[in-house]
Amino acid sequence: MTQRTGELFDLGYQHYDGPREGRMRARKAVFFDGFRTTLGLGRGAVAKALPMLLFGAAMAPAVILALIASLTDGLLEIPGHPLYYEIVSTVLLIFAAIIAPELLCPDRRNGVISLYLVRPLSITDYLAARWLAFFAITLLLVYSGQIVLLAGLVLSAADPLDYLQENWLDIPRILAAGFVLAAFITTLPLAVSAFTDRRAITAAVVIDIFIISALADEILTECDNHGDSGRSGECDPITGDAAKWFALVGVAGVPGNVNQIIFNADGEGQRNPITSELPKIVPIGWYLILTGGLGGALWLRYRRITA
């Protein structure tokens, strides 16, 4: 019997002894990868088309409103900043439901998650970077629309400087309300994506949650007087005093209720005026519980997956 011998080839391996930036560098890499993935950057035209289409759809109301304001020289009253968030929230929800799962589902389905788990990153780092990537894009989207609208309103005012002096509070309100909306719209689809590997299922579940909860909200807070087309007039809800609590059921209205408090809007843009009968802390608390709970569910699910 011949004895087989092996041979090792030295290919000149050199280990790296240069500077390292620490874990923040790794977090940034995941963040920017998430940013690119969301917008389809570095990929084919098809990957870019959907985000760009939805981006355009979310910006369109602001551009149209700003154009109307500037073309009519402010003579025609157009919806203000609180209502803008209400108008675009549906598009934003669709945007989030379709695009956000792309950040998590394929990594698990295709086994790319292993790539991250054997790098100097904790699963919390990975999730936080992915969350922040989508949050940053959503924030950019909502702020861009509001800036366009603000520009339209300022330029159409008889005296732009006077307008700004009178409405300067709108700027911090826009920032705060945009933050609230973006955080919610980011967290919900990402939390749902943690429970399925399929993007389409996540998108369907998120959209169903919004539709079903909105229907439940409508039914539970419907006015007894059928002649009343809306809730802005006299309304005697069929569920009586409990209606103001049932009005919290509509998931789509959760950030909207907080936005109305931020803008101190009693009438304009109120999706659900009936919730204004509740102490302000209730819609805010409900928002924090729901957003925090969904974020917690996302984190716990990943802890379990990677355990």
Binding site: L8, L11, G12, Y13, Q14, H15, Y16, G18, P19, R20, E21, G22, R23, R25, A26, K28, A29, V30, D33, G42, R43, G44, A47, N110, G111, V112, S114, L115, Y116, L117, V118, R119, P120, L121, S122, D125, A307
Partner: protein, 161 residues
């Protein structure tokens, strides 16, 4: 590293999944150099490698790599490179973009030099700007090797098969 200080130290390690015992009271030490772990199907090789690389917890016992606990210790990955059999890659990245991405995950800065060396080591300089999705399986494996152990890790690498 001195011969008294093993690169890998496995002490009384067991791993079970429900009622199935995958690894039963295994102890060994690995010194610096090249070591292969051989055994028949179902012997628990992959399970041990998963525990060595911190991807799985031990039901019992302790694993240390370069003197540090392997599990729940992301800092250990500054020092080791791991390439697993089932790990996928992003097909839309070029080979070079993929290695650069993993170099960033390893906190390297600047990355150009180490990435050039890693890609050169696996002999894929000519294909580095092509999309990974168009690579053959062999080329993809080599680029993964460049990404997994090339740019940032010290010579304490694991190949999980």
């Amino acid at each position: 590293m001195s011969s008294q200080s093993p690169a890998i130290d496995v002490k009384g390690v067991s791993k079970w999944f429900g009622s199935v015992v995958a690894v039963n009271d295994v102890s060994f030490q690995v010194q610096p150099g090249i070591t292969g772990l051989l055994g028949p199907n179902g012997a628990g090789k992959s399970t041990i490698l998963h525990m060595l690389t911190g991807k799985a917890s031990c039901s019992e016992g302790e694993v240390t790599v370069l003197g540090q606990p392997a599990r729940g210790n992301p800092e250990i990955y500054w020092s080791i490179g791991v390439m697993s059999e089932h790990e996928a890659v992003y097909g839309f990245y070029s080979g070079r973009e993929f290695v650069e991405f993993t170099a960033r995950l390893h906190g390297l800065d600047p990355i150009a030099g180490p990435v050039d060396r890693a890609i050169g080591l696996v002999g894929l300089e000519d294909a580095q700007h092509r999309k990974l999705g168009g690579y053959s399986r062999d080329m993809r494996q080599r680029m993964r090797l460049a990404a997994g152990g090339g740019p940032g890790a010290r010579p304490a690498g694991f190949g999980i098969g």
